[in-house]
């Protein structure tokens, strides 16, 4: 649908370097990356608010690099909602229709169903300053949807909301994407949001696109150590392949020996990525299992987080396992408990140094 072909752009201290990506119709596309990476600049470039210094932007195969924002059929929602404080809710929501030439009454009538849909019909005559954060966010979203955009652009839309409101808003966004078939591009630094909403995603670091593809693949099999770190892989170990037999490699990392499924050959420098979800923990001596990697160690920290707990184990290197809190209680795991960790060779994602 919209394609960036080697786009470079400098804007103050922010820059995009040679970014190529494709957003397809119906995608829920996430742009993730650390603060200052250039995510918002990229989003604004999709909207046409910044013209690239080099490269091309294509829409349905046609070049639109110089097409102004008002002709791109996009709508943008910022983190701070950017509502007009001196306009009532109905005027805020109908603003896009008004500037496109629709009369005030007609525009108000047009947006009435939207206000109902987003549960803000009772706020029609209120000013934004009198609304809660969640209500303001719904008004901003309704205003964006009112212009019937081809692409909805969202800049960290959930970051200013409390957890309960966030959950409701995630449902709203999911419905918009699935039921209305809307193409959505969302800037975020939340892996959880990406897990819940994204169909495809791009990782931007220092203005460069370092990974792009289906969300599940980017999140679980990152292409580089920095991406692995950014997408929240809990256990990342640098090591060297010492042998490889039929695709099952032996890797020495942090003084420990791991087995992992990879084509990496002996002598190759690799990075092992192990999700804490994939680490099985047994208290005490443990039992023999089919897992190719079994490591003995001592629990050094238990961090409870809702229904689960992250258990950090010193097994020569510190590895993290995620257990239910119930399991932690049943196994009597506390700091100092001897533990055995098991990881299946197939659960280890290996990043090869040349990839």
């Amino acid at each position: 649908m919209i394609e960036f072909d080697r786009v470079s752009l400098a804007l103050g201290s922010f820059r995009l370097n040679d970014v190529s990506l494709t957003i397809r119709k119906g995608d829920y596309y996430f742009i993730v990356g650390p603060s200052g990476a250039g995510k918002t600049v990229l989003l604004e470039a999709i909207a046409g608010l910044h013209r690239p210094d080099s490269g091309r932007v294509l829409l349905r195969g046609e070049e639109i690099t110089a097409l102004p924002p008002e002709k791109r059929k996009v709508a943008l929602v910022y983190q701070d909602y950017s509502l007009f404080p001196n306009m009532r809710v109905s005027d805020n929501v109908s603003y896009g229709l008004r500037v496109q030439g629709m009369g005030k009454k007609e525009a108000r009538a047009e947006v009435a169903p939207l206000l109902e849909r987003f549960g803000i019909a009772h706020l029609t005559d209120r000013y934004p300053g009198t609304l809660s954060g969640g209500e303001q966010q719904r008004v901003a979203l309704a205003r964006a949807i009112a212009v019937k955009p081809d692409i909805l652009l969202l800049d960290e839309p959930l970051s200013a909301l409390d957890p309960v409101t966030q959950e409701k808003f995630i449902d709203d966004l999911r419905r918009l994407h699935r039921e209305d078939g809307l193409t959505v591009v969302q800037v975020s630094h939340s892996r959880r949001e990406a897990h819940l909403l994204a169909t495809r995603m791009a990782v931007i670091i220092d203005g460069a696109l370092v990974d792009e593809g289906k969300a599940g693949i980017v999140l679980n099999t990152p292409k580089s150590r920095e991406v692995a770190s950014f997408v929240g892989i809990e256990n990342i170990l640098d090591g060297t392949v010492t042998a490889n037999e039929d695709g099952l490699a032996t890797v020495v990392a942090g003084g420990l020996v791991f087995e992992a499924v990879t084509d990496a050959t002996a002598g190759e420098e690799v990075t092992l990525c192990i999700r804490a979800d994939d680490v099985v923990l047994a208290a005490g001596g443990g039992r023999r299992t089919s897992a190719r990697n079994t490591l003995a160690g001592t629990v050094v920290q238990v961090v409870e987080n809702g229904p689960v707990a992250e258990v950090r184990v010193d097994a020569g290197v510190t590895l993290t396992a995620v257990l239910t809190r119930r399991s932690v209680q049943d196994l009597g795991i506390v700091s100092g408990t001897p533990a055995t960790l098991s990881v299946k060779a197939t659960a280890i994602h290996v990043i090869r140094s040349f990839s």
């Binding site: 909207a47 008002e70 709508a75 943008l76 950017s82």
Partner: protein, 231 residues
């Protein structure tokens, strides 16, 4: 001890002058309001579009222009008075207008005095509309002109605050109107120049009466300001 104290007597007489709508007090007050309101109107007419131009257009030296405007907020009124006097005097380039020692000349002087203030405050008011809002407006399909008009409409209360501050500076200043107007009784005498003259002549009651009215105007401006800023 009330008797014999000229200040307390002055206060009492001042209240009487206001309550009885003393013709001299009314005439000076009306002239003051007329001169300063007209000057504010013309200054706004010139400064608001210029301030908007400075805000919306990127050009080399923009920062220096804004800094200069801010410096001119504190422009000494007597300097403006002197410059306008020289320009409007018989030997000056605008002497043919015969504006010197007329309310017209005073309006010109006060207009010049508050234009930098109004321009600077317009730039500040528009800057209060953040970049994200500007981009949101554009992305929602607004043309450049519609974007500009929406931003100005959104900043209207801040712009109005600037205009009220300009009026406050105009009506309270004495330097330009004294030099350009000449403080002529029945012609160019305004609240501030009348207070200065009557105080020097020990005519405290009239000075105090005019002072109370000037303070009331300032209070009115302040109340209007806070009402506007509450929006």
């Amino acid at each position: 001890m009330v008797n014999g104290n000229p200040i307390i007597e002055g206060f009492i007489e001042a209240i009487e002058l206001i309550i009885t709508l003393d013709p001299q007090v009314v005439e000076i007050t009306i002239r003051s309001l007329y001169v300063s309101l007209t000057a504010t109107f013309f200054a706004a007419l010139i400064a608001l579009p210029l301030g908007a131009l400075i805000y919306f257009y990127e050009f080399r030296g923009k920062h220096a222009v804004v800094s200069t405007l801010q410096t001119l907020y504190a422009l000494p009124t007597v300097i403006v008075g002197l410059v306008i006097f020289l320009l409007l005097s018989n030997v000056g380039p605008f002497g043919f207008l015969r504006f010197l020692y007329t309310p017209g000349g005073m309006i010109v002087a006060q207009t010049v005095l508050i234009i930098p203030l109004l321009m600077g405050l317009t730039v500040s008011a528009l800057s209060g509309i953040d970049r994200d809002k500007r981009y949101t407006i554009t992305a929602l399909g607004a043309s450049r002109l519609q974007t500009v008009m929406t931003i100005i409409a959104e900043a209207r209360f801040a712009v109005m605050s600037g205009v009220l501050l300009g009026f406050g500076r105009a009506i309270a200043e004495v330097g330009t109107v004294m030099i350009v107007g000449g403080n002529i009784r029945g012609a160019t005498r305004v609240l501030t120049t009348a207070i200065a003259l009557n105080t020097s002549m020990a005519n405290y009651s009239l000075s105090i009466a005019l002072g109370i009215i000037l303070l009331a105007v300032a209070l009115g401006v302040n109340i209007a300001l806070s009402l506007v800023q509450r929006r």
